[in-house]
Amino acid sequence: MRRVLVIDDQPDISETIAATLSIVARWEVLTANTGEEGVRLAAEQSPDCILLDVMMPDLDGPATLRRLKSNSQTARVPVIFLTSKAQISEQEELGRIGAAGVLTKPFDPLQLGQQISNILGWSE
């Protein structure tokens, strides 16, 4: 079973993504509501993938990614950023700093797992 970590400062978003991926894709989903908590959980739980919100207070998405990449335990975990369309100009930059991909909100809950699999080349 795939294990995915969702890092988003809005608990409603991380909980809804968790419900979506556990019910539709049948993956195990961990959630963190700050970048700091996400970095710690990633090192402890070794997820197969991290979904990371770009815009968070304190440690934002790009800063969290840099922390993950600088830790040998988490450096190889693929990270997919969650952005809004209003931030579309930032997508190229997110790729440059090491994101495996970018998912733009809103997403279709029924397709989310497939979209993640497509980005990461997972065959389910």
Binding site: D8, Q10, D12, I13, E15, T16, I17, A19, T20, I23, V24, D53, M55, L82, S84, K85, A86, K105, P106, F107, D108, P109, L110
Partner: protein, 107 residues
């Protein structure tokens, strides 16, 4: 569109989750409304808070697959982020979008 119509657009397996979040969504729309009113009244220091508020709403509606509602919030976010809220037509778009969001959550 009223709350029942909005709820019907949420995939069935997420409806319970949506119901739990409706009060928080209503509150967030009210906060965005207040922030934008204050911005239009000249409190420009509230811009980043208003951008964050619209951004959060865009994401919150988006995860439930509510594309139209997420789009209303996203348009507000885009106008604010571009610092383009100064003229009357843009302010009208923002007011209308917030009003649409409020109505879609009204029982």
């Amino acid at each position: 569109m009223r709350l029942a119509d909005t709820r019907a657009l949420v995939p069935e397996f997420l409806r319970e989750n949506f119901d739990r979040n409706v009060p928080a969504l209503v509150e967030r729309v009210a906060v965005l409304d207040e922030l934008t009113h204050s911005l239009f009244d000249g409190q420009v220091d509230l811009l980043s808070k208003a951008v964050q508020s619209a951004h959060d709403l865009c994401g919150s509606f988006g995860v439930f697959g509510l594309r139209e509602l997420s789009g209303f919030a996203q348009e507000v976010e885009g106008i604010l982020r571009a610092d383009d809220y100064g003229n009357a037509s843009r302010q009208e778009i923002i007011r209308n979008n917030i009003s649409n969001l409020r109505q879609c959550l009204h029982a």
